[in-house]
């Protein structure tokens, strides 16, 4: 079905993501689940049948979480928008293959994660595979944590510094940290998204936090910090 010359009107409302064919859903709260699920399932079915307006509606529902995931992974608005665009193009190309084995939002997150990882792989030619990304080199891993507790981070972390610290993480650590601590996914959900074990997810998250701690403790102290 061709798209009309005029741009499709986006729905004004941007509902929170809802789960369709719920296996699990991102833990950001889904109110009125049954009614919303029914509506979203209908929108999905119409989009799968080629209804462009319905696809526009799905974009409206999911754009914020997908964009936010991309933004946290690359730390740059323009790149995040490009990746969001590519994720939704992939979504459009593959939408008829979605069978509801997992939540639609989870499936879309998986697509977006693959788009982000492909992008990071292009930027770092020495990284050949997802496995390599998930297992950083020895010098990228956090050091042992037996230093004196001379700096307390509690209450002293600002957004810009933390974003810089996240940008400095190896991609595998960054991905698990973003998915768990920022996006609110549980370890079993991350394991499914990344096709790894829950133990691996827990380990990557812990190493990510240790690396962030190293970075933050090495920052010059700002006036007014504890």
């Amino acid at each position: 079905m061709p798209i009309s010359a005029s741009s499709t009107q986006l729905p004004r409302e941007t509902p929170r993501p809802s789960s369709v064919g719920v296996a699990f859903a991102p833990t950001d709260g889904v109110a009125s689940k049954s009614a919303t699920n029914h509506d979203t399932a209908d929108i999905l079915a119409r989009a799968q049948a080629g209804d462009h307006q319905a696809f526009a509606h799905l974009y409206s529902i999911h754009k914020r979480r997908i964009y936010s995931l991309c933004l946290r992974m690359v730390g740059n608005v323009a790149e995040a928008e490009d990746l969001t665009q590519e994720a939704f193009l992939q979504f459009h190309r593959k939408i008829t293959s979605f069978r509801g084995d997992s939540a639609l939002s989870t499936w879309l997150h998986r697509l977006a994660i693959n788009v982000v990882l492909m992008h990071l792989r292009k930027g770092k030619l020495q990284l050949d595979s997802l496995d390599e990304m998930m297992e950083p080199t020895a010098d990228q891993r956090p050091g042992r944590s037996f230093g004196a507790p001379d700096i307390a981070l509690s209450g002293a972390i600002d957004r810009l510094t933390l974003q810089r610290a996240i940008d400095d993480l190896p991609p595998g650590y960054r991905l698990v940290f973003v998915l768990h601590d920022i996006e609110g996914f549980e370890h079993n959900e991350i394991a499914s998204l990344l096709d790894c074990s829950t133990g691996n997810s827990k380990s990557q998250l812990h190493k990510a936090r240790l690396k962030l701690r190293e970075f933050l403790r090495n920052q010059p102290r700002q006036e007014g910090r504890k």
Partner: protein
Amino acid sequence: MNNSPNNMSCAEFQAQLPDLFGCGEMIGDHPHLRRCNLCRALLADLNAIAEAARDLFPVEEPPHADALWEHIESAIAHEGVV
């Protein structure tokens, strides 16, 4: 290696941290922390980082959401399949 929580070394305690965090237990009550300032400080820092991540990065609207949609729409039209 001593596996008793009461006699754990810092290395042993820290090796268990990923699982302790992941299982939702009250790690702060762990016997090792009652006598170890270093690990207590480590735990406080890791909790502060997780808390900051949760609080400082809300889900964001793409700044040019409508223009972004127009690009997506245009690319879909270019591919010729809807």
